[in-house]
Amino acid sequence: MVNVALAGQPNSGKSTIFNMLSGVNQHVANYPGVTVDKMSANVKYAGNNYQIVDLPGTYSFSMFSLEEQVAKTFLLDEDTDVIVNVVDASNLRRNLYLTFQLLELGKPVVLVLNMMDIAARRQITIDIEQLSLLLNVQVVKATGSKRLGKADIMAAIATASQQEQTQLFKINYNQFEPYLAQLEEQISIESTISRRWLAIKALEGDALIVEKTGIKQQLIDDLTDEIHKRYDLDVDQGFARLRYDNADTLFHECVKEHRSGQENLTNKIDRVVLNHWLAFPVLGAVIYLIYQLSIVGGYELTNYTWPILASIKNWIIGWLPQAQFIDVPPITDFVIWMVNSTIALLNYVPIFFILFGLIAILEDVGYMPRMAFILDRVFKRYGLHGQSTLPLVLGGALVGGCAVPGVMATKGIADERARLATILTVPYMNCMAKVPFYTLLLGAFFPEQMTLMMFYISTVTLFIALSVARLITATFLSNKETAPFIMELPAYHLPTVKGVLLSALQRVWLYIKKVVTIVLAIAVVLFVLLQYPGIPAETMGQFRLSAEKALSDFDHKAQKTGHYQLVDEQMEVFALLNLYDQYKAQRMLTSSKEAVDSLDQAFMAANPELFPLVRPQGGDAKKINKAVRKLSKVSKKIRMAMKNEKISNSFLGMFGRALEPVSQYCGFDWRINVAFLSSFAARESAVATLGSIYENGQQGQRAENALASDGAYTPLHAVAMLIFMILSPPCIATMVVVKLQSNSYRWMAFATIFPISLGLITSALFFTMATHLGWSGEEMMRYFYLSAAAIAIALGLSNRKKPEWSVSK
């Protein structure tokens, strides 16, 4: 087994090379403790196994970024046999900066000149032999995007792995040399890395290396001071200068550029894309396109995938112990619950697949940094980054989106602080799934002003998101360092189909593996919270009475028909009822005539006696069929009432009652609390949740009268609920991805508690004000909206107290 590490600068096409070498069997993991992806693959070549790890792209091996630390740690700790340095052939001088540092490690290196096609187009010629000679490494040409060079690279790796002695590559660091020698002596550890490299890094002040090698920090400080005094040189600048000088020399010896000052394709495109007038329309068009294709288009796709998922569910239900009228075996209940949860989550896969594919295309093409370039000035004021655009849009800007892919899209944001701020902000955007809720409430309480209200709702989220971002970065995140904005604008190039598909599949798989599993685990807990302690005996008795009545009703009707002997026993009645329900469920999913026919045949074959009663021909059969239908309705009704009763008495229900002292300020009585809580968990919560809770509470008083004596629900209540809904977190899955992307349970807890608290406080505030000041529902919403807008704008305009960057002495 040969261990190979792929290293190179960002935008050098390293991932494409990795894809080319590794095929599809890539393994994605995490470097311990951080959210950086670790890509590895096992490649067989000429009878040997090669374990290739794709290190994160780094410009250098300094200290400041997470990627650099990860790459460095990997090379230090793991035993790498060969380093493959992927380099952008049309940008050799800058790429050599990293190359030198890799060569200094003292391990066998293979230099891959990638993007040879672009170099050719720019009429750049590279003297491969000379380069190879001067650097003392094998140099291989490749064009990853066209799948050229795989064999050559593997052959070079094979040769390098068998190299006996690596002649140490040395740059003459002039004045630093004696100091390096001094430090080399101080290194106590054994390592496959060359001591010289360690000494260089130590002198440069790399805390990680200093710690690992056991060199005293004091010594470093002394040496640095001495250098500064003697030569008036900064160690950092000194090394950088020397490296670049050497790179220059090499460059001039090996590279000929026939055309400089090129007006190439990238420049031409940028003239449009980054044009002062066209930039925003282009940006808008791109975002609109992504949104349409993924959210809207993906949604369409689910119309086809859903029936498949639902059939699987029905099939599973067929295997479970059957319900006995109103008694549903707990195991059945539980399995149905879990299956529903699972398919609800899986239903999102088509949308995400398209979305991740589009994001991959956008990343590969090179448009992302340009997006950041255009919008950075606005986002910066709120503690966000230009690259926060896409995540926020995906979360739902103006129209409904989904926070799950939005948060997952924060991966690429360079600035750690802005990245966290974005992760915590995306959930405030317009969640798609909240729309039916809004529609219903608005339809009931604001039928004439629906458009206006929807406008308020869909635009207020952006103001809230920006304000929260600013708030968070000013307080909770203020201790995090903000990174420099400096960003490379890569040349535009066409993405590879393979690369895009791989990326999309990997991310979808990540969703399934990490998000779905955790949400399902939570679903189990919720089930318990809702099932127990269960329905009190007395109430259960009442339900049983209703059940008995319905059954005897059915019995009477069935007796009048000629098919009575089929259903004279109770078990038979249950069987018929279940058959009817199952058939109906399946039937709902089939649309074509052929499918219906084959469904009928299948059911007939399995239930020759009872099925004719489900699809009746003939008067008698139709009578029983009608009775069964009625029975089905009644059983559903009783079961729903039972469910509500169960929820109301469950642990969750008790919690709702306990919350009342607090929630009453929002206008939420305990019934609304229970409804909120139970609906957060019990998706199959019956329609009459509130109604039946009321009815039970008022001992049979009709809902109207009950409420009349209670005080009606007014538009103000509705707005309070809307405000709470706008601010509260979208779904459990979102919380899970927040944890994944931030790598911290603390932030996940914060992302759950803070919005809920904010929602409660804000809706309480506005509800109280509206009640005392006599506002109408629309006014309450309007003032909420204006406040949010005002806060956002004020925060944006407020001056920062200190400048971001200080000048050195």
Binding site: N91, L274, D376, K380
Partner: protein, 82 residues
């Protein structure tokens, strides 16, 4: 308007103008990053454009394109070229 009377900075270049880097006054993380990206005294840079909202700016250095905020560009001293 130049940042100081004596030395213009990268932020002072207008579109299309070239400059040669003289000095880098940044500290810490920013300095490291600038060094890594090749902002060494003696290197030629060209100002390509402003962002639509005027900040950040795009420059070309050696053979590639970089963007940086004006606040960062102000710390890089240049000499006008050509």
């Amino acid at each position: 308007m130049p940042t100081s009377i004596q030395q213009p900075s990268l932020a002072d270049l207008i579109t299309g103008q070239q400059g040669v880097i003289q000095d880098c006054l940044a500290q810490g993380t920013l300095k490291l990053k600038l060094l890594n990206m090749g902002f060494i005294p003696g290197t030629k840079v060209t100002m390509i454009r402003n962002a639509p909202l005027r900040d950040p700016i795009e420059i070309s250095i050696q053979n590639y394109l970089l963007t940086l905020r004006r606040s960062e560009a102000k710390l890089i001293m240049v000499k006008y070229h050509g």
